[in-house]
Every structure is written in structure tokens, then in C-alpha cells.
């Protein structure tokens, strides 16, 4: 914000530069993949803070897959599997064994940071990145064309994933049951839904989406695995869900907004502006906090969010 005021006159430059949209999409894609998963988990009643660990594990396992097989598709599957493994532990521990979901999530984050850093140092995987795939025609749209349609093909997976997530959550029985698990688990329970099973499944889906985000980071963006390279973006995805008021539209908007603030550093560099380096790094986190101050109390969260379900207790 402060940076924006300081360079008020240059705002137009930022808005009209293709670089802005390009870097925003690079950050926003990762956030959006993870945020869709987090949105599903939260609609089913879990604040899944192990999302950071899921992305990190996905990023590492996809690097591992790329290193061992050299095939990008297999590497992507490895990434999905990595996220799913973390999701499995989180789901089983918090919704089968009934352990506090924050405690499990936090421990998994610490474990993921340590384990991936350790394995990375021991194995040193080499990654073959995907390169870009330009979609002719669409990529020629001014301003946003290159950002949306001249990127790694993993980014294109996001476009069908958004309507798919909407369809599954709002137009299938399974999605209805998931939302019920987040809104009114007691009612769902008496109507025969296995609440904790649905919550576990939602966390698994979150693991898959976050694994995809991790694979995107490694294969599509950096082309290598960096220890602790997710650096808090999982938590920003979490904030995007709150920003979006627990709606899919809002969550995606949140991913774009926070993506923009994350990209601001590289945009300023590309346009030749000077700005405080630390402020630019901290900006997405500051914005996430600031938007939560506005939206967290305004929008209605899933009624049973972060409340463990135990039959017979209210």
C-alpha cells in the first residue's frame, strides 16, 4: 500500500504492463491451486494449516519424480501423491483419532520442512521443467493474453479445476454432504452421513490440490526444489479463503489479489522502480492480515469450522 502511494504516478505503468499480469498469474496460480483445496477442506469444517507442508511435500516429491523418471507427467503424479500423503496423515489424525487439527497441522508443517530439506540434501534431485506452451490466438489478447495462455501447461489445469470444484461442491450429493459436515454435522450425522469420513475426504482433496500447487512450483516455475521454498504461501492461500468469505469466487479473487501483491516486487524491478525490498516481501502477508481484519468478521464462516465432531456432544 505504502509503495503504491509512493509511486502513485506510476500506477498506470504497473496496470498497463504485461509483466504485471504475467508475474501476478505466476504467483496466483500456485495460490489458487492450494486455495481451492483449502476452500473445500474449510467448507467441510477443517482449518487445514498443514497446507504449507502439503505444498512443500508436493514440490519435493515432484522433484523426486522428475529426477527418477524424467517424465513430467509422472513427476506431476508424484507431486499429487506427496500432497495426498500429508493430507492422509492430517485427515486420519484429526478426524479419525480426534487430535487437535492445529496441533497436527503444525507438526506436519515442521516435519515437512525438516524432511524435505533433509532428503533434498541427501538425494539432490535434478528437475526437468515443463517449459511454456503457447496457445495460439488466445495468447494474443492484449495485456492478459500472455499471462493466461502463454505459460506452463500445468497452469492450464487450473482453468477446468475451478468450475469442476464448483460443480462437485454445489451440484453433487458428495459436495452437499461435505458442506453439511462443515455447517451442521449433527444434522448430517442423524441423516446418515459419516461426518468424519467426509471431513477426511475433504482433507485428502486439499492434499491433492496442494500437491498440484507444489508440482506447479517445482516443475512449472522454479525448475528445482528449494528447501523451505514455499515460504508461507500456503498460509496466504489460507488467508485467500477467508478473504473470499468461504465462497469459490471470492477465494479465486483472493488468490489473484494476493498474487498481485506477491508479484509487486518483481514487477517493480522489471519497470525499474526502487522500493524497499523487505517491505515488498512482507507486503502479501501485511495485505492478508489487513484484508482479514475487514472480512473475517463480516462474512459468515462455516458454522462448525474447526470444531471437531464427536457424536452425542454439542
Amino acid at each position: 500500500m505504502i509503495a503504491m502511494v509512493a509511486f502513485g504516478g506510476s500506477l498506470w505503468d504497473v496496470v498497463t504492463a504485461e509483466a504485471t499480469y504475467g508475474s501476478t498469474m505466476r504467483f496466483a496460480t500456485l495460490l489458487a491451486f492450494a486455495a481451492i483445496g483449502e476452500w473445500i477442506a474449510e467448507r467441510a469444517g477443517t482449518i487445514n494449516i498443514s497446507i504449507e507442508g502439503m505444498i512443500l511435500t508436493g514440490a519435493f516429491t515432484s522433484a523426486l519424480g522428475s529426477s527418477t523418471t524424467g517424465n513430467v507427467f509422472v513427476a506431476l503424479l508424484f507431486g499429487l501423491a506427496g500432497g495426498l500423503i500429508v493430507g492422509f496423515v492430517q485427515g486420519v489424525m484429526s478426524h479419525r483419532l480426534g487430535t487437535n487439527q492445529f496441533v497436527v497441522g503444525l507438526t506436519l508443517n515442521v516435519l515437512a520442512v525438516g524432511l524435505t530439506a533433509f532428503l533434498d540434501a541427501q538425494i539432490e534431485p535434478t528437475v526437468t521443467s515443463t517449459g511454456t506452451l503457447r496457445i495460439p490466438g488466445l495468447a494474443d489478447i492484449p495485456l492478459i493474453g500472455e499471462a493466461l495462455f502463454d505459460a506452463t501447461w500445468i497452469q492450464y489445469l487450473l482453468y477446468p479445476l475451478i468450475p469442476l470444484a464448483w460443480f462437485v461442491m454445489y451440484r453433487t450429493r458428495w459436495g452437499l454432504e461435505l458442506r453439511c459436515a462443515g455447517e451442521n454435522p449433527q444434522a448430517g450425522d442423524v441423516s446418515g452421513i459419516d461426518i468424519n469420513k467426509r471431513r477426511r475426504q475433504a482433507v485428502y482433496v486439499c492434499g491433492l490440490c496442494s500437491g498440484l500447487a507444489g508440482a506447479y512450483l517445482t516443475l512449472g516455475q522454479t525448475g528445482s526444489f528449494t528447501a523451505n521454498g514455499v515460504s508461507g504461501r500456503g498460509f496466504i492461500a489460507l488467508a485467500a479463503v477467508i478473504f473470499g468469505g468461504w465462497t469459490l469466487k471470492g477465494t479465486i479473487a483472493g488468490a489473484l489479489v494476493f498474487g498481485f501483491f506477491s508479484a509487486l516486487g518483481s514487477v517493480f524491478q522489471a519497470l525499474g522502480f526502487q522500493a524497499n525490498a523487505q517491505l515488498l516481501v512482507a507486503l502479501p502477508f501485511i495485505m492478508a492480515l489487513a484484508t482479514m481484519l475487514i472480512f473475517a468478521s463480516r462474512s459468515r464462516q462455516p458454522a462448525a469450522l474447526a470444531r471437531p465432531f464427536v457424536r452425542g456432544l454439542t
Binding site: G114, S231, G232, Q278
Partner: protein, 385 residues
């Protein structure tokens, strides 16, 4: 009754125990408690063994030797001369972080941004310790207090956001951590804040802290132990006492166990909970101060110098499962792993295996209580999903 063996018998024993009238209760109840303790102990032993075995497997798969790693860990933290001192000085900040986390946890609050509070606490201490003039004792007390205040204020920010704007503290404390890193990094670029006055180093380093502003140490059997360890243990005892025996502690526990009852009893969630968050931040700040002036290798504030003290202290609190005094041995175990890991380079295994062991231990110790709870509910005839 006597025919039932201990393994897996715990759930089966309970219903016949509950049904007979209370006249015959005392003696059989005592034996059954012992009988129940055995499978509980077994689940703990098995889950810790599984966690350690997994770590050993991990080391062997990646080409190391698990036994070498183990002996290097013990050599570095306990066996080599003076190692106890290092370990105890590392355990002190971990304990400070853990005890504050337990305090907030009792109120039902999950402060998980201690890493940032530790960092800022250390920064506050560094600022005061490098600037204040005067006798050593005065400088030490004031700079430690500065660290406590800065850490507490940082957590208070999360408390204000929680109670005025409904922002979950789980997320806000985490996000504040990432902001804290950038704030201290910024401070390290400015001379009027924390940056070193010498112009020769390109790396951003803090100003050196004078030796009389560092915590005094004392010698026990050739181990130099910082006063910080004493501070941490006394603090732990105080908080354990406050939780168990004072009105404040009672209010805190009531708020954590049942917020609705607490409100009816006149406990203000914002006041008691907000203070609890600030206290947990303050002890994390103290941890940073102790780490800077009595534990850290080196004599100055550097970028990201909290180096996981906050995260590990948090894990200690989770391991202690809300029991304040249990945090002392747990902090020591973690300190053993941490200081021992510095000695791993000779074995060719990356030192971050220690982080893996720590997290695996926590995960392993989360399982047995959960299994007990499920068995207890099954025994009562509830259908457990």
C-alpha cells in the same frame, strides 16, 4: 476378572467395573488402574519406537548409518566435555517458549507464531543491549525486559485482531511471523536500528553485544551454564503454580475448557484470553533475549537468528501436552537433539535429520492419548465414527 490379560483388555474391563455398587469399589479399582496403565505404557513405547525406527530407516535408505548418527547426537550433546552446558543453554529458550505456549493453550488459544516473537524479542534485546550505558546488571535486566515487552506486544497484536475483528489467532500469529522476519531484516540494514557500525562487512550483521551485557554464567563440573537456564526453570515453576493454584490460572483453564461457562461466571474472554496470548508472546520474547545473550553461537543479532527456537519450543509444548512441569524434560530432550545435530557433519548425514526426529516424536506422542480416548468412548458403549 483375574483371567483377563493386560493386552487389549482395557476397554473390556471397564463396564463390569462400573456396574457393581460402590461398596466393593476401593481394592479392585486400584488394581484395574494398574492394569489399565500397562497397555497405555505399551502404546506410548510402541509409537515412539515406530517413530524412531522410521527415522533410522530414513537414514539408512539415504546411505547413512543410524547407529553412527545416534552416537554422534549423544556425543555432541552429552558426552563430549562441556556439552551439557551447551545443551542446557539451548534448552532454556525452548522451555521459555514452551511454557508460554502452555499458558495460552490452557486458555484454548493456539499461538503458533512464536518464531517471530522470539526473533523480535531478540531484536529488542539487541537494540537495548548495544545502546545502553551503565553497569552490566542494569543493562542485562533492562534489555531482557525490552525483549519481553516486544515479544508480548507482537502477540498482543494478534489478540487485538482476534477479539475486535474476529481474526483467528492461528492464522494471524503465523502471518505476523513472516512480517517479523522482514522487519528484523530491515532493521539490520539501518545503522540507527540494528546494523553493525563497521563498514567492511557486506553481510548484514548486528552490532556486537559487549561481554558485560551478556548473561552471566556459572560452572558446574566444567560445564558453563547461563543464568538463562535458571530464569527459564523459575519461570516454569511460577507458571505451573499460577495455573494450578491461583484465581488467574483457574479463570484461564475455565476459559479453555468451556468458554460459555466462563462467560457466565464473569470471565472476560477478551481480557483473560488476550492477556494469555500476550504472555505467551512475552515468554517467547524472553526466549529470544536469553538465546541472544546466553545461548546463541556468536555475540550479535543476525538475520533469522531465532533459527527454529520458536518452532521447536512450540513442539516441546505440544509434547508436554499442557503439563507445565513436563515441559522441562521435554525441552531437554529437544535440546539434546538440537545441539547433538551440530556434530552430525562427520557422519555424512545432513543435520536436519534432527528436525525430522523431533517432529516424528511429536506425531508419535499424539497417537496414544487419542487411542485411549477412543477406547474410553467405546467402553462407554458409544459408537465412534
Amino acid at each position: 476378572m483375574t483371567a483377563t490379560t493386560s493386552s487389549g483388555a482395557a476397554p473390556a474391563v471397564v463396564p463390569p467395573e462400573g456396574s457393581p455398587p460402590s461398596a466393593a469399589a476401593p481394592t479392585p479399582r486400584r488394581t484395574s488402574r494398574w492394569r489399565r496403565a500397562v497397555p497405555i505404557a505399551i502404546t506410548y513405547i510402541v509409537s515412539v519406537a515406530v517413530a524412531l525406527a522410521l527415522c533410522a530407516l530414513l537414514v539408512s535408505i539415504t546411505g547413512g548409518s543410524a547407529s553412527e548418527v545416534f552416537s554422534a547426537l549423544i556425543d555432541g550433546s552429552l558426552r563430549s566435555p562441556g556439552a551439557w552446558g551447551l545443551t542446557v543453554n539451548t534448552a532454556a529458550p525452548l522451555l521459555c517458549v514452551a511454557i508460554g505456549t502452555i499458558w495460552a493453550g490452557k486458555a484454548g488459544l493456539s499461538n503458533i507464531g512464536q518464531e517471530g516473537q522470539v526473533l523480535l524479542g531478540a531484536a529488542g534485546t539487541a537494540y537495548l543491549a548495544t545502546r545502553l550505558e551503565g553497569p552490566g546488571f542494569f543493562v542485562i535486566v533492562v534489555s531482557l525486559a525490552g525483549g519481553v515487552v516486544v515479544g508480548g506486544l507482537w502477540a498482543l497484536l494478534a489478540a487485538v485482531m482476534k477479539y475486535t475483528r474476529n481474526v483467528p489467532e492461528v492464522i494471524s500469529t503465523l502471518l505476523l511471523y513472516f512480517i517479523a522476519i522482514q522487519m528484523t531484516d530491515y532493521a539490520l540494514t539501518k545503522r540507527w536500528l540494528l546494523a553493525s557500525l563497521s563498514t567492511d562487512s557486506r553481510v548484514n550483521n548486528g552490532q556486537p553485544i559487549k561481554s558485560d551485557a551478556r548473561l552471566p554464567t556459572f560452572e558446574i563440573f566444567g560445564n558453563s551454564i547461563s543464568v538463562g537456564a535458571v530464569i527459564a526453570v523459575v519461570l516454569t515453576a511460577l507458571i505451573a503454580f499460577a495455573l494450578a493454584r491461583t484465581t488467574t490460572g483457574f479463570r484461564l483453564r475455565m476459559l479453555g475448557l468451556n468458554p460459555r461457562t466462563a462467560r457466565r461466571a464473569g470471565v472476560s474472554a477478551a481480557l483473560v484470553g488476550g492477556t494469555a496470548l500476550a504472555v505467551s508472546g512475552a515468554t517467547a520474547g524472553l526466549a529470544g533475549a536469553i538465546w541472544l545473550t546466553g545461548g546463541v553461537p556468536g555475540d550479535r543479532f543476525t538475520s533469522n537468528m531465532s533459527s527454529n527456537i520458536g518452532w521447536q519450543g512450540l513442539l516441546v509444548a505440544l509434547l508436554a501436552r499442557q503439563r507445565a512441569l513436563l515441559a522441562i524434560p521435554m525441552a531437554f530432550v529437544f535440546a539434546v537433539l538440537r545441539t547433538g545435530s551440530q556434530f552430525l557433519s562427520a557422519t555424512g548425514v545432513d543435520r536436519r535429520i534432527a528436525d525430522v526426529v523431533q517432529a516424528m516424536l511429536v506425531l508419535a506422542l499424539l497417537v496414544p492419548p487419542a487411542i485411549q480416548e477412543i477406547q474410553r468412548r467405546r467402553a462407554k458403549g458409544e459408537v465412534v465414527a
